[in-house]
Symmetry: C2
Subunit: 466 residues, 2 copies
Amino acid sequence: MTEKLNARILLQPEEVPKVWVNILPDLPVPMTPLINPLDGKPAPPELAFAIFPKECVLQDVSQEPTIAIPKDLREIYATSYRPTPLHRAYGLEKEIGLEGDKIKIFYKNESVSPTGSHKPNTALAQAYYAKKEGVEELITETGAGQWGSGLAYGCNLFKIRCIVYMVRASFLQKPGRKILMKAYNAEVHPSPSNLTEAGNSFYKTNPLHPGSLGIAISEAVEHSLRSNTARYSLGSVVNFVLLHQTLIGQETKMQLAKVNETPDILIGCMGGGSNFGGLILPFVRDKLNGILPDLEIIGVEPKACPSVSKGEYRWDYGDSAKKAPILKMHTLGHTFIPSPIHAGGLRYHGIAPIISILCNNKIMYPAMHHQTEILEAGITFTKSEGILPAPECAHAIKEAIDQALKAKENNEKKVIVFNFSGHGFFDISAYEEYMAGDLTDYELPTEEILKALKSTDMPVIDETQF
Amino acid sequence: MTEKLNARILLQPEEVPKVWVNILPDLPVPMTPLINPLDGKPAPPELAFAIFPKECVLQDVSQEPTIAIPKDLREIYATSYRPTPLHRAYGLEKEIGLEGDKIKIFYKNESVSPTGSHKPNTALAQAYYAKKEGVEELITETGAGQWGSGLAYGCNLFKIRCIVYMVRASFLQKPGRKILMKAYNAEVHPSPSNLTEAGNSFYKTNPLHPGSLGIAISEAVEHSLRSNTARYSLGSVVNFVLLHQTLIGQETKMQLAKVNETPDILIGCMGGGSNFGGLILPFVRDKLNGILPDLEIIGVEPKACPSVSKGEYRWDYGDSAKKAPILKMHTLGHTFIPSPIHAGGLRYHGIAPIISILCNNKIMYPAMHHQTEILEAGITFTKSEGILPAPECAHAIKEAIDQALKAKENNEKKVIVFNFSGHGFFDISAYEEYMAGDLTDYELPTEEILKALKSTDMPVIDETQF
């Protein structure tokens, strides 16, 4: 066997992890609670239970270091697509001029899931618990559709009705994932719609309003609160979603161990923070416990929506219409509407509270790139590794290339690992426009405007009370 | 470990087969030669060498039972995507009402390749040999683009220029794979073009001519004959392509052995016959050698283009402009233009000579379905197994479902294995039209018209001379 036959490091289905890794007990400061948008007080369990499946709410605040994955659910992960492969990026290394084994690039390939991204990791878990608790409908929002198709897939497996509010701009321009959701039996509405109060407030004045993730979240939350047997489902940001995604990092660890490697740098793209959290959290535990003290961790944002790099760490609404819980996080303000970059999954004004705490405590740091830069990196990756990345995922690739070239310049030995969160087969128009030279980069509004956006109306939240 | 953790049967990269299986020495009658379209005589080696990479021509006529896969090439298969998984279709079985283990359905998942189909299996081999022989350009045609993107991927890895003539109807309507080819550095021209004589004869009278596979083949062959360092590349039909695809069947055998199964029925869709041949040929050897005497083998065609079911077994041109070699095969006539069904990969007037011989000798038999039937089966599969099939591949799914239900009715024990040749992420418009109720089925022309099409002008071929 030649060395390169080891370029894809595979685990068997029976090696799917038996637990999720819960980082909450390891954090250097206590996790902040979800806040009720109506009174500014920590959301009582009844309120949270009315929004999310109960078991997910309990996981969201658990202080157990690991949480067991139910046997049936683990079986579904294993029968459908997990474990996913870890690849040594020999092709990419060669393409960017690395030689020998001094700098090694690995990527965890989450694009092999049925819907093409990491999203089913939590969709399956949420649908599983919802089914167990007698929930009949899960309602959610989606931008480009990675999350919506992931949830539609999960709900369909468990025979739960799935209703998706899809940002109208994407609904019209990127029909692929909409059709995929329908193939999984989901009901898909363009947002803003006239089906909810939150939607109607925009729809009435403009039935062709392009929409935003913030508005779509408001619609989904409002819809889910109408019925006792419906719940809201979220694909990122909250603790329990990042928890479910830790399958990624745990498998990556096992796979690196098989080739006797430990990472020097971990990289992922960040929208709400779920694929990034999923990769890094099992390693964050090792870093905090002194096992990997020098591990560098980098989360990559679009320059058009740099919630961590340019946002404030403060309380903010999770949605536009102020119906979703208030979270403490890095935010550009819930009224911030990101420019229409192709990486729809990264167009969110805030970020997961877990990621915010890790950043504040210098356990990780953010990086930013423009969309033309990341699409160029995406093409480089396609040419050298064969797989067309989603624009979201191309942010991680761009940073991995930059870090590798920096290490080469400094003559350093490095093992760089990034998360290949999804393929770009449904985002082909992004590459089409890029190759035609039709894409521009978006600059952020001036600091003054940004500051104004961040200081939006908010109930008084007394942190001494919890 | 529960039983279902075995639902995906995986092999390690080092288990990629070391040989291709060559069925020619096993055939009950000798393989017919390629005929020179200019004089009706067997194409002399010089002519074949001017068209295809030399090693491929030698493989095309080899009588060795196996042909070794070069070590470097095997390494590339293993580093990129092979072996592919074999799945037990627990979800599909449940969806169609099968219970217990009496009837088992398995599918070989070729959709995990970088371009989403089985096509890279031969694209990598052809590009490998071309590179070794100093070929600088590979020219080909493509319909929906599965083959074109496969070859573009292969050429890019070996730094060979790739030029693709893409049927104009697909070039305009299905931009996805066109962009993917460009991302792999390929040059893509809508066909008919004004770049070749063959193309220009159609282009001049109608610059918006929708084109056909037959015309595109003529353009690609003509283009490749212009230069000493260019060769033509074909994605199906000829012996050496089916040879390269036998990776599929060999792996399937190993995977079934791991779960102690032998197949009762093998199923694949047939256009030119490459994914079907790739699955069945290693098993055909076992059937002919008495190891699997009762194995049933079914090739599935569209009712709109049933080359085997309704074609004549005779000599015919491989292309429309009579530039490609003449083959003995089941054919609807090289002037037959199939109706515009979504399964572009199955819209070919002929079929591989190997498949024709197997059919004539009752070693396998064909089945046919309409496009609304196969898309319905595709949706059933998507809902139950999660993966959206290409319309081509959905033909195999429809037949597998029918066979399983027939076995259930007859209270028979059956192991059914089909080839999942590719995903349908780039064919989403087919499902969109199907779900909207906008698709119709196409009937074949009357027998009289068909007969006339089959009896096209042809040089006299004296079979006693070879």
